[in-house]
Amino acid sequence: MANDGERSSRIKLLLVDDEEAYVRILAKRLTRRNFEVTTAFSGVAGIQAARKEDFDVAVLDLKMEDVDGIEVLKVFKRMAPDMEVIMLTGHGSEQAAREGIQFGAFDYLTKPCELEDLIVKINEASGKHRQSSE
C-alpha cells in the first residue's frame, strides 16, 4: 500500500452480501490471496462503500433482504461505470443473472461457488477493467 506499483498490482474488491458470515470468511480468504477487500453487509452499505472509494471489481449477491441485487447493480453502473460486477445467484435463478448481464454485469456465478472459480472470474474482470481504464 506504500507505493503506487503495489497499489496498482493489488486488485481492489468490494464484496456485497447480506450473509455476513459468508462475506467475512470470503474476505479473509481473498485478502490472504492478495486482494484488497472491502465488505458490505447490505445493498445500501454496498452503495455507500462504492461512493466513498473506487473499486476494480465488485462481487454482488443478487438476493438480499433490503435492496434487490439488480437494483444495486444499476446504481453501481451509474456511479462507477468502470467497476466490473460479478454477480452471485442461487441455483435456478440464472434468469436474474442473465438480466444483470444486460445491465452491464461482467458475469455470474451460482452460489455456493468454488473459491478458485471466483478468483478466476475476478482476475478476468480486473483484466478487462485495466484495459478499459487505460
Binding site: 450473509e19 435456478g92 455456493p112
Partner: protein, 559 residues
C-alpha cells in the same frame, strides 16, 4: 353415512322424476282420450238411435202399406162384383186364385158373410161354409166399419190369423166380404226386422196381445210397453225410444211406434251392448291402447330416469374425484415451492461452511502448524467437510432444478445434457427399484428450441413412469436420442408390464391414472403432452402387455 345419504338422494330424485314424467304425460292423455271417448259415445249412440228410429218408421210404413194394400184388394173386389156373383162359390174361388196369383200366398181364403153373421159363401182350404160368426168379435166391429182389420186370433181353424173385411150393401141388407191374411207372410214382415244378435221386432195390440211371434217371450205388462199402451198421445209419426234395464240387469233399448191408427204397436228391442257393440269394441280397444300407452310411458320414464340419474351420479362422482385430484395437485405444487425455498436457504450456510473449511486449509499452510503431528488428520477432515459441502450444494441444485418457479422460457438446449442430468438425478431411485437406466445418446444431436426446465420435467416424468411401471421387479429403462429428418427424437422405453390397450387412448388425458389414489395425480403425462405439443412436437406411445412400453417424442429442430 355420506354414501347412504347420497343413495337416498338419488333414489328420491329418481322417484320424483318418474312421478313427474308419468303425471305430465298421463294427464293430457287422460283428458284427450276422455273427451274423445265422451263425444264419440254420444254421437255414436245418437247415430244408432236415429238409425233404429228410421228403421222402425220404415217398417211401420211397410206394415201399414201391407195392411192397406190387402184392404184395398178386398175393397176393389167388393166393388167390382155384385153380391150375387160373389155368393157363387165358383166365382169366389176364381177370384181367390187370381189374388193368390198376383199377391202370393198372403190371402188364405175369401168369404161372404150376411147380416146375421152366417158365411154364405166361402173359398179356401177350410170347410167354413155357413159358419156362424155372429158371436165373433170381429163381426161386430166389421158390421160397424166400412173396412176393418182384425187382431190376430186363432178363430175356428185354431191357427193364428187375422182378417180384413169390407162392408157392402145389397138390397137394403148389409153383407161383408172378408179375407183371411196368411199369418206367416205378415209375420215375416216383422220377423225380418232383426238387428245384431239380440235385436228383434214384434207387434202388440191394444190389449197387449202379441200379433206376431217374437223371438223371445214378451211380457206386455212390463215397462215401457204398459205405459205406451196406456197412453193415447203418441199417435201418428211419433216413435218412442227409451233405454232401461231389463230384469236380467242388462240395458235394453226399446223402440215403440203405433200401427193401424193406434190399434197396434210395433215394438223393437235390443240390448244396449248389442246395439252399441261397435262402440263397446272401440271403447275396449281404446282402453287397451290407453293402458299400453300408460305402460309405455311408465316404462320409458323409469328407464330414462334411471339412465339420467346414473349419468348425474357418475358426473357427480367425477366432479368429486376431480376436486380431490386438484387439491392433491395443489398440495404437490406447494410442496415443490417449499422444497425450493428450503434449498435456497440452505445454500448460504453451506457456502459459509465450505469457505470456513477453506480458510482453515489456508491457515494450515502456515509454517508453524506444519510441525503438528495431526496435520494429515486435519487435512483429511477439512477435505471431507468441503466434499460434503459440495454434496449439499449438489442436492440443493437438483432440488432447485425441479422446483416450480423456474424459467419456462425457451432457448436452444442440448437434449443430451438434460437427459444426463435427469438420469443422474434418477439413479438413486433406480437403484432402489433395481432398475438399470441405459442411455444411448446421439453425439451429433442438434440443439432444440425449448424450455430446459420443461424438457427436464418431460424426461423426468417419463423416466419416473417407467420406474413406477417396473415397480421393484427389476428391469431396464432405455433412454435414446437420435435425429430423424427435421426432428430430434427422444425415446424412453421400459420392459415393464405394458399398458392395457383399453387405457392407451386415455393415457394423455388429464387426471387419468391407474395408480392408487394418492400415488399419482394423473397429470404427469398430460403435462408432457401439453409441453411437447406447445413446442410443435409430437408425443406417442407404443406398448405391449408383458413386453414393455416406449414413449416417442419428436421435436422439430428449427421449431
Amino acid at each position: 353415512m355420506n354414501d347412504d345419504q347420497n343413495q337416498h338422494y338419488y333414489k328420491s330424485l329418481t322417484r320424483r322424476i318418474i312421478v313427474t314424467m308419468v303425471v305430465v304425460s298421463v294427464i293430457p292423455l287422460l283428458l284427450i282420450s276422455g273427451t274423445i271417448r265422451y263425444f264419440f259415445q254420444v254421437s255414436y249412440q245418437e247415430k244408432v238411435q236415429d238409425h233404429l228410429k228410421v228403421l222402425i218408421k220404415k217398417h211401420r210404413q211397410n206394415i201399414d202399406t201391407f195392411l192397406s194394400e190387402k184392404l184395398a184388394n178386398i175393397k176393389e173386389l167388393g166393388e167390382s162384383y155384385t153380391f150375387e156373383e160373389l155368393s157363387n162359390e165358383a166365382v169366389l174361388a176364381e177370384r181367390l186364385k187370381v189374388l193368390q196369383e198376383v199377391y202370393g200366398r198372403s190371402f188364405v181364403d175369401l168369404g161372404v158373410v150376411d147380416e146375421q153373421g152366417i158365411q154364405i159363401a166361402y173359398a179356401g182350404p177350410f170347410k167354413l161354409r155357413l159358419a156362424d160368426y155372429s158371436k165373433a168379435a170381429w163381426f161386430n166391429a166389421a158390421l160397424h166399419n166400412e173396412t176393418y182389420i182384425s187382431d190376430v186370433f186363432p178363430g175356428k181353424r185354431g191357427i193364428p190369423h187375422f182378417i180384413v173385411t169390407v162392408l157392402n150393401e145389397h138390397a137394403g141388407k148389409k153383407w161383408i166380404l172378408r179375407a183371411t191374411v196368411d199369418f206367416d207372410s205378415f209375420n215375416s214382415l216383422v220377423e225380418n226386422l232383426r238387428m245384431g244378435e239380440t235385436g228383434f221386432a214384434f207387434i202388440l195390440n191394444r190389449k197387449g196381445e202379441l200379433q206376431t211371434k217374437p223371438r223371445t217371450e214378451i211380457v206386455a205388462s212390463t215397462e215401457p210397453y204398459a205405459s205406451f199402451l196406456a197412453s193415447n198421445d203418441a199417435l201418428g209419426e211419433d216413435v218412442l225410444l227409451t233405454d232401461m234395464p231389463s230384469k236380467s240387469g242388462q240395458d235394453v233399448i226399446y223402440v215403440l211406434s203405433r200401427l193401424k191408427n193406434g190399434d197396434w204397436i210395433l215394438a223393437f228391442q235390443q240390448t244396449a251392448e248389442d246395439a252399441y257393440s261397435a262402440l263397446y269394441t272401440a271403447r275396449r280397444i281404446a282402453l287397451i291402447i290407453f293402458a299400453l300407452g300408460v305402460l309405455c310411458i311408465v316404462a320409458v320414464a323409469v328407464v330414462l330416469t334411471r339412465r339420467v340419474v346414473a349419468r348425474i351420479m357418475s358426473a357427480d362422482r367425477e366432479k368429486q374425484m376431480l376436486n380431490e385430484r386438484v387439491i392433491e395437485a395443489g398440495k404437490l405444487a406447494s410442496l415443490g415451492e417449499l422444497a425450493a425455498g428450503i434449498a435456497h436457504e440452505i445454500n448460504n450456510p453451506v457456502a459459509v461452511m465450505v469457505e470456513e473449511a477453506g480458510w482453515i486449509q489456508d491457515l494450515l499452510e502456515e509454517e508453524d502448524l506444519k510441525e503438528s503431528k495431526n496435520l494429515e488428520e486435519f487435512k483429511q477432515s477439512l477435505k471431507q467437510i468441503r466434499l460434503q459441502g459440495v454434496r449439499c450444494k449438489e442436492i440443493t441444485h437438483k432440488l432447485l432444478s425441479f422446483a416450480r418457479k423456474t424459467d419456462p422460457r425457451p432457448r436452444d438446449v442440448q437434449l443430451n445434457e438434460l437427459v444426463d442430468e435427469v438420469v443422474n438425478l434418477c439413479q438413486q431411485r433406480a437403484r432402489y427399484a433395481t432398475v438399470k437406466i441405459n442411455t444411448e445418446l446421439d453425439p451429433q444431436l442438434p440443439p432444440v428450441h425449448a424450455s430446459p426446465t420443461e424438457m427436464q420435467q418431460v424426461i423426468m416424468n417419463l423416466i419416473n413412469n417407467s420406474l413406477d411401471a417396473i415397480d421393484g421387479r427389476g428391469g431396464v429403462v432405455e433412454v435414446k436420442t437420435s435425429t430423424q429428418d427435421d426432428y430430434v427424437v427422444l425415446e424412453v422405453g421400459d420392459n415393464g408390464p405394458g399398458i392395457p390397450e383399453a387405457y392407451l387412448p386415455r393415457i394423455f388425458d388429464p387426471f387419468f391414472t391407474t395408480k392408487p389414489v394418492g400415488k399419482g395425480t394423473g397429470l404427469g403425462l398430460s403435462i408432457c403432452y401439453g409441453i411437447i405439443t406447445k413446442m410443435g412436437g409430437k408425443i406417442s406411445v407404443s406398448s405391449a402387455i408383458e413386453v414393455g412400453t416406449t414413449f416417442h417424442i419428436r421435436i422439430p429442430i428449427n421449431g
